[in-house]
């Protein structure tokens, strides 16, 4: 636990020591505010459904950018060799890095609270759906992060890690979409529709917090963190 904490602190600080965190937060908040306020005054409805609905697509490009350096850079400049010869287990490093990237996401989400706050000033939004929306956002973001982290363990090139992360998230996102499900064979239908990242997100967005959705996200996160650990360990016998 202490080790995870040490890695977490180091990684989290490194986000803020480099321009990554600032660029990420500024651009992300800028784009999402613009997308939100563009239609907000026209539709004149005090709700954030539209923005939350766009988030899976915005995250698709932002989240892999946060995770791409986590392993690829360590491998590239060789610091992984010191890190992985410290008295610390591989999964502790994986978890520490994951929590650091999640913390960055959480901080960003915290800043984005200015959107619902301004909505609350001009109107009377349904607070329940906004809270659910944020919960869904964090869960889905965490799932993306774990996928991006796994992509980063596969290569020492950050750009490759970025693209791989996007592709993996994209695949997992679209298999739950109607248009894909429409053309999948019947026996695959329930599997695809269950695995789709978006399906569970939209059910949370509707304001229904179902334990199945939460278990789904936790399973996805756990699965990809486990794969990351395996991938990091695989250096030993390759």
């Amino acid at each position: 636990m202490r080790n995870i904490n040490a890695i977490f602190k180091k990684e989290f600080r490194s986000y803020f020591n480099s321009p990554i965190a600032y660029i990420f937060m500024t651009v992300f908040l800028g784009i999402s505010s613009w997308l939100f306020f563009r239609t907000f005054f026209i539709s004149a409805q005090a709700e954030m459904r539209g923005l939350f609905g766009l988030m899976p697509w915005i995250f698709l490009f932002f989240i892999p950018a946060v995770t791409m350096k986590l392993w690829a850079e360590e491998k590239k400049i060789g610091t992984a060799e010191i890190l992985m010869t410290l008295p610390i287990r591989d999964f502790e490093v994986v978890l520490g890095k994951f929590f650091a990237s999640f913390a960055l996401l959480a901080v960003t989400a915290l800043f984005s609270l200015c959107i619902p706050i301004s909505v609350a000033i001009v109107g009377d939004p349904d607070q329940g759906t906004i809270i659910c929306g944020y919960l869904g956002l964090l869960l889905m973001g965490a799932a993306y992060l774990s996928i991006g982290l796994f992509a980063s363990t596969l290569t020492e090139n950050q750009i490759v890690a970025f693209i791989l992360g996007i592709c993996a998230c994209f695949l997992l996102l679209i298999i739950g979409e109607e248009i894909v499900l429409f053309s999948t064979p019947n026996w695959l239908y329930p599997i695809f529709s269950y695995l789709g990242l978006g399906t569970h997100y939209s059910s949370i967005l509707r304001g229904v917090i179902d334990s199945r959705d939460i278990i789904y996200y936790l399973t996805i996160i756990g699965f990809f963190l486990y794969l990351s650990t395996l991938s990091v360990e695989s250096r030993k016998w390759r």
Binding site: K9, K10, S18, W237
Partner: protein, 351 residues
């Protein structure tokens, strides 16, 4: 402290480490030398539990590297080749991070950090980020990192590469100092470094230990004749005749004549302990005026060449194999087969 038995590791078809066995104890400075790609780094990575061996066993500080990697790592300070560090961290932040992971108690951290800063001469750069440091200072930060928990075993992969001469000497002295209590295993391909710092030498070539012992022992193992340079005033023929009578003299080559002084290069057989003494006695007996008497002994460089390249080149059968293969196989295959042949021969000669 370190016990390695028949360690073998291959990357795909390339055999990086082949049946390596050795032992090392506390208070030793063991120099690990060999040509590039000989398997030094791979061996070190196995000992630090970064990689796993295909077969064989290794124990470090009494713990098996397979079964207790965490305990092994707690007892080892490791500096990988070219000191990879987080360039966006400050020097002190980095060391602090290391004290946290190394689980050094809070109240000791400051003192440990100060002590490694002192040992490694980092006090002038404590304010800086690692990215701003020169290669030499980065190397020192890497060393500081490996010393932070005061480990009984230090494994350093080319600790002096990229340093200027005075820094190199400092690091060597540090290694020597540390080697009084700890076990230091370090790799290098700079030969004078080995003779300057090591109490023992492990020579590795093509994944195999080809020599293991003190510098003197290794020099003793080299089958090579000694050469004595001697310059004497007098008549050429007479001198030659007398020189020939000296015990162990095998060949006399006349090198130069100048001002009535004749210079020779004399090859003496290896069994003679101190050939210069015999030459000196001969000079006294014959009442010669001696202008030069110099014994060229085998140095580490020759030992190195002898154990690594020399053997391979001198062995005849390889050429035959190459020519046989050339007729039939594509070029890539020749390489691997030749390599196999070479390894085979080295093994045979070793045994």
């Amino acid at each position: 402290m370190i016990e390695v038995k028949e360690l073998t590791k291959s990357y795909g078809p390339t055999l990086a480490v082949n049946q390596v066995s050795f032992e090392a104890r506390a208070g030793e400075v063991v120099g690990f030398i060999g040509p590039n790609g000989a398997g030094k780094t791979t061996t070190m990575r196995i000992l630090t539990c970064y990689l796993t061996a295909d077969s064989g066993s290794a124990s470090v500080a009494g713990y098996d590297v397979q079964e207790h990697p965490i305990d092994v790592r707690k007892n080892v300070g490791y500096l990988p080749e070219s000191a990879p560090l987080y360039v966006d961290m400050g020097v002190v932040d980095y060391l602090k991070f290391m004290t946290e992971i190394r689980e050094i108690p809070k109240f000791e951290r400051r003192q440990r950090i100060n002590s490694v800063i002192d040992i490694c001469g980092l006090s002038s750069v404590v304010q800086k980020d690692i990215g701003e440091l020169s290669k030499g200072f980065r190397q020192r930060v890497g060393l500081a990192q490996s010393l932070i928990h005061d480990p009984p075993i230090l494994i350093l992969d080319e600790p002096t590469s990229g340093l200027d001469p005075s820094q190199t000497i400092e690091i060597r002295n540090l290694i020597k100092e540390l080697g009084k209590e700890k076990l230091v295993l370090f790799s290098t391909h700079i030969l004078p470094e080995v003779s300057a710092t090591c109490s023992r030498i492990l020579m590795i070539n093509q994944g195999q230990i080809v020599a293991n012992g003190t510098l003197q022992e290794l020099i003793g193992q080299v089958q090579s004749d000694d050469t004595v340079h001697v310059a004497i005033r007098g008549a050429d023929e007479e001198i030659r005749a007398r020189l020939n009578e000296i015990e162990g003299v095998m060949e006399i080559r006349h090198v130069a004549t100048g001002n009535g002084v004749e210079s020779y290069e004399v090859t003496t057989s290896q069994g003679i302990d101190s050939p210069t003494e015999l030459f000196f006695l001969a000079a006294v007996e014959n009442n010669w005026q001696m202008a030069e008497l110099r014994h060229e002994s085998v140095d580490l460089e020759q030992v190195f060449l002898n154990f690594t390249t020399g053997e391979v080149e001198e062995t005849a059968p390889i050429e035959e194999i190459v020519t046989q293969v050339e007729d039939t196989s594509p070029i890539e295959e020749i390489d691997t087969q030749t390599e196999e042949a070479v390894t085979g021969i080295t093994v045979a000669e070793e045994e």
